[in-house]
């Protein structure tokens, strides 16, 4: 029975992701390009001013920013589905579980980020920087960022009453978490007192992991382990928050 429920949930996630992700994306492929534009511009300017030595930071930042932007856009997708289309109501009054719905939508949004992530992977490979460890680190880091910011996006979507509120929130959040913290630049540039952000802000944690794995900075094994743990804890907290705040049924 339990296995059957899990199977159904997985199929449900796939159906929702296909409906909101793949099907419309095939019809408007431009959706996926805009996520990569800003990070590619950063890469260009960082290379221009920082030289080849700083490319590792720009690539790490690019991976993280593409993923964050796509994940945060979940807030618009979910709010649009609830406020404008009202299809959300059809899912609530159905056997679809809140988690199935949220994961399906989050996956659908992330599919739009795939071409951007692939672009940065191609650049990393072309620069002969890609190693199995780096690849694994990138995947792990991006999954944690995806989880955390999709949850944030979904929770925000449940709080707004007008879509126009979100037009400002998406760029604010993306800017705050992927430009200000040490995502495109090394943690060491921050004053000593502020370096703890690497363990608190999910984008900084993910970027630091990639900075280390790409060889842009060297770090003690202890820090490496701490960063992996911090990233895992951040995602777990995000999932716990989601489970308590899906606001599936409105009070």
């Amino acid at each position: 029975m339990r296995t059957e429920e899990i199977r159904r949930s997985i199929v449900g996630v796939a159906a929702i992701a296909w409906f909101y992700g793949i099907a419309p994306l095939r019809r408007n492929i431009y959706w996926s390009f805009h996520y990569a534009l800003a990070p590619l511009a950063f890469l260009f300017f960082i290379y221009l001013y920082g030289g080849s030595g700083s490319v590792g930071y720009a690539l790490a930042g690019g991976f993280v920013m593409v993923t964050v932007t796509a994940s945060v856009s979940m807030e618009t997708e979910a709010a649009f589905n609830r406020i404008v289309l009202k299809l959300h109501e059809m899912y609530v009054a159905s056997p679809v579980r809140p988690l199935t719905y949220v994961i399906g939508l989050a996956l659908a949004n992330q599919l739009s980020a795939a071409p951007g992530v692939a672009t940065f992977l191609v650049i990393t490979t072309a620069l002969t920087l890609l190693t199995p460890l780096l690849f694994f680190t990138i995947i792990f880091s991006l999954i944690t960022v995806w989880i955390t910011f999709s949850v944030l996006g979904y929770i925000i979507s449940t709080l707004v009453r007008d879509l126009r509120d979100l037009w400002t929130w998406s760029p604010i959040i993306t800017g705050l978490v992927s430009v200000l913290p040490p995502v495109f630049y090394p943690l060491e540039l921050l004053p000593e007192a502020l370096r703890g952000v690497a363990y608190i802000i999910p984008t900084a944690t993910a970027a630091r992991l990639v900075h280390i794995a790409i060889g842009a900075v060297t770090a003690a094994q202890q820090e490496w382990i701490l960063l992996w743990t911090a990233a895992a804890i951040q995602s777990t907290i995000a999932i716990a928050v989601l489970l308590r705040n899906t606001r599936w049924r409105i009070t």
Partner: protein
């Protein structure tokens, strides 16, 4: 609350929104299973709030409600497996097709792939959407879009369907088509349909039972004939213009003023007399049978908004 043969049983249901707006004010209602039940009311009367609570989308503030024998608050999951809704003013996603809407929704609900495919094709054909199955919703007319949403809910295997103004914006022929499907679902498949509508004709033609809700309270309920008989009149005389006073008309039966039109509810024997008097006084007058709308107008006091 009795459960046998009852799809929905509400008792003293109240809903007060955060701004202090009382949407439901002690609603008690029993809706039989396997029937078509219509909830009628003006905008803001509480119809959608009732549907949202019964379909586990909204928490009540007080009172009890059981759906299919399960408590809406504590057993929502059990209810959700057996219901489906068409939301009020819902819209399909513009970059998806009608086929995708129905098929993916059925899969997400846990239906097998083959069964989902079969049901999707069937409902699209029945609602004459087959020819548009793979057309993007952005290219469909408003009516076809609404039909897509209706098809999505009707294709499910839900025992209880909540249709919140499902035929709004549809042409008469499509509306009749949807009525046929709803009748088949209830009379042949034994499903229950709870409908909210502004179209009195729809409620009258389709429903086995109706309730009229006004300002969060149920003001009438029962079978269509039963509710119609609440007026204690068989004919409606509509009078426009002329020099007749309300006092004069009051002698014949219940009088309701709707703008420039005055409706007088009378027995057949008095209808001719009222028409004659109206014509004498330079008014235009017409007679018709009493309908559900008359009961509604009489109870709620004003005409329906279109």
């Amino acid at each position: 609350m009795s459960l046998d043969g009852v799809a929905v049983a509400a008792e003293g249901l109240r809903k007060i929104y955060s701004g202090g707006v009382v949407a439901l004010d002690g609603v008690s209602l029993e809706i039989r299973a396997g029937r078509i039940f219509s909830l009628l009311g003006r905008n803001g009367a509480g119809k959608t709030t009732f549907v949202k609570i019964a379909s586990t989308q909204l928490m009540p503030s007080a009172g009890r409600i059981e759906v299919l024998g399960y408590d809406v608050i504590t057993e929502a999951d059990k209810i959700r497996r057996r219901i489906a809704v068409v939301p009020q003013e819902g819209r399909p996603a513009l970059l998806n097709t009608p086929y995708e809407h129905v098929y993916h929704y059925l899969i997400a609900r846990g239906m097998g792939l083959w069964e989902a495919r079969r049901r999707t094709k069937q409902i699209l054909d029945v609602l004459e959407l087959g020819g548009y199955a793979n057309t993007l919703c952005s290219q469909l007319s408003g009516g076809l879009r609404q039909r897509t949403l209706v098809a999505t809910a009707l294709a499910t295997d839900a025992e209880l369907l909540f249709l919140d103004e499902p035929t709004i914006g549809l042409d008469a022929i499509t509306r009749i088509k949807i009525w046929d499907v709803i009748r088949t679902l209830t009379h042949e498949e034994g499903r229950t349909v709870i409908l909210t509508t502004h179209y009195m004709e729809e409620a009258e033609t389709l429903s086995d039972a109706v309730a009229i809700i006004d300002r969060g309270r149920i003001v009438a309920r029962g079978g269509v004939d039963e509710v119609r008989s609440l007026l204690h009149s068989s004919a409606r005389v509509e009078v426009i213009g002329g020099s007749l006073t309300l006092e004069e008309l009051n002698r014949y039966g219940k009088v309701v003023r709707l703008g420039e039109t005055v409706r007088v509810y009378v027995d057949d024997s008095h209808a001719r007399e009222v028409v004659g008097l109206a014509l004498e006084r330079g008014a235009r007058a017409s007679v018709s049978r009493v309908t559900l709308e008359d009961v509604f107008v009489s109870l709620v006091g004003e005409g329906l908004e279109s």
